[in-house]
Symmetry: C2
Subunit: 312 residues, 2 copies
Amino acid sequence: MKKKAVIALGGNALIKKGQKGTIYEQFANTRRSTKSIVKMIKKGWDVVITHGNGPQVGAILLQNKVAKDLTPAMPLGICVAESEGLIGYMIQQCLSNALKKEQIEKPVIALITQVIVDQDDPSLSHPTKPIGPYYNEDEAIQLRKEGFQMTCQPRGWRMVVPSPDPKQIVEGESIRKMLDEGIIVIASGGGGMPVVEKENGGLDGLEAVIDKDLAAERLAEAVEAELLLILTDVEKVYLHYGTPKQMTLDKITLKELQNYYETNHFPPGSMGPKILAAIRFLESGGKKVIVANIEKGWEAIQGETGTLITRD
Amino acid sequence: MKKKAVIALGGNALIKKGQKGTIYEQFANTRRSTKSIVKMIKKGWDVVITHGNGPQVGAILLQNKVAKDLTPAMPLGICVAESEGLIGYMIQQCLSNALKKEQIEKPVIALITQVIVDQDDPSLSHPTKPIGPYYNEDEAIQLRKEGFQMTCQPRGWRMVVPSPDPKQIVEGESIRKMLDEGIIVIASGGGGMPVVEKENGGLDGLEAVIDKDLAAERLAEAVEAELLLILTDVEKVYLHYGTPKQMTLDKITLKELQNYYETNHFPPGSMGPKILAAIRFLESGGKKVIVANIEKGWEAIQGETGTLITRD
């Protein structure tokens, strides 16, 4: 009996805090983060893998900025596509190498993914997500003239972009078919390239960043996964995180979680989108969601760690 | 009756000579270069598209170089993967938009591609292909210390990398399956990421650049295409190109072409690999190869322009 899972690897999985992000560091981290995935595949899971790209797309934006007088800077959407190439290649190679060591011959394909958002998503007119390098005031003024929204932070000025809600994975049906053909798919990296549908049905790119866990959830719907496995840098989901009242959630139902979510227990920038993704997935027919530490995905599936969220 | 083709778009297709390569220029050029492809799909062809990446990977290498004190520079193979993301996204979006205008609903998938080369390929110990930005002498000395081969050209120093012969497309079988599922595939961009097989069967990336036409040929073998369509910036294949003796080849057989190839009629850097790709493809069972101008692919299939190369 084939079981399908979408696995979302946190943005810090491939460049750890304090690391510079050399290619050696990134490959070493990637190898580590594929261990649980190999165990799942060994046990018969069909998997789609998605990943964050925060540090990588930040580096690419910075490179584009610094070299802009020598070669035209690419817009954010294109930088996301570049980061999907970079990270997709690493995961693809590390995972298939690890599978070969276990005598498992399964193809691993990394693809470029577009994600449809609403033309009238409120976030498009109210960008709030700071991204990329820091700028000085003169640069910030210039960028504003070029049409970018800028925000002042303690370390300098940063671009702020919209983070619209993902509605549909453009390549979703193809990914499902690939999965049915026994292919392991890496998709929707960094939340995917945000696009809007034009009146003629065509697609058009946007200067925005989609939350990767919310995109992972749409991916899980598209491939009809039974499990959404969100791997991050905390061990479990907590209430009152980081306060004396901190409380661990080991197992929780959709209804209980909805309750906590609606009473603002999870901060918008971090655990919030993960919880919203979990709620959406279970509401749309998914069986379970697990939130766990990136190094312990397999143990979490065994019920040894992580937070398990079920329909009832 | 389904006919399969691999279409190779020349490296200058997306950034024309004299252009800086802004994203607007690249999208406009991409839209233009997809016109023939749309006509082929309309007429029932199943297609795999591959493309050059010279200007784009040059720009990415330059950005990496200029920003290297701020964020770690990525090696060449990674830059190729980034360029596959960038170009794959553009072709994917422009092509599916153009198809929708014609009421054709076919998925277009761009994927990251690895290409196996021989560990003992002679080019690996004799790099000859100049790539990326120009360096001054001090930088060149430093890069030599870091293990790079450098060559002095009139405009400055450049890195030279091996250009090993592609043997096999790692994702070839998956691409064939996707094609059978009615998916239009973009693969092996920039010749793909060169990898060698390690003793344990795993793959390892290389600092090298694979010729995109030779990689396109391996792709055409892998998907059992009947046509390899090489689109470039000349109208046809010529003998004695650019000399008073210049002679146009409209239609030629494999045997005649082999003859010219073996007597060194085609320069190694430009038409040579295209001709070698044509010879290999027909020898391996392909039906025909067409070399034509990027704007006239469809006309060339109709026999109105280009050079047609057949088995006999």
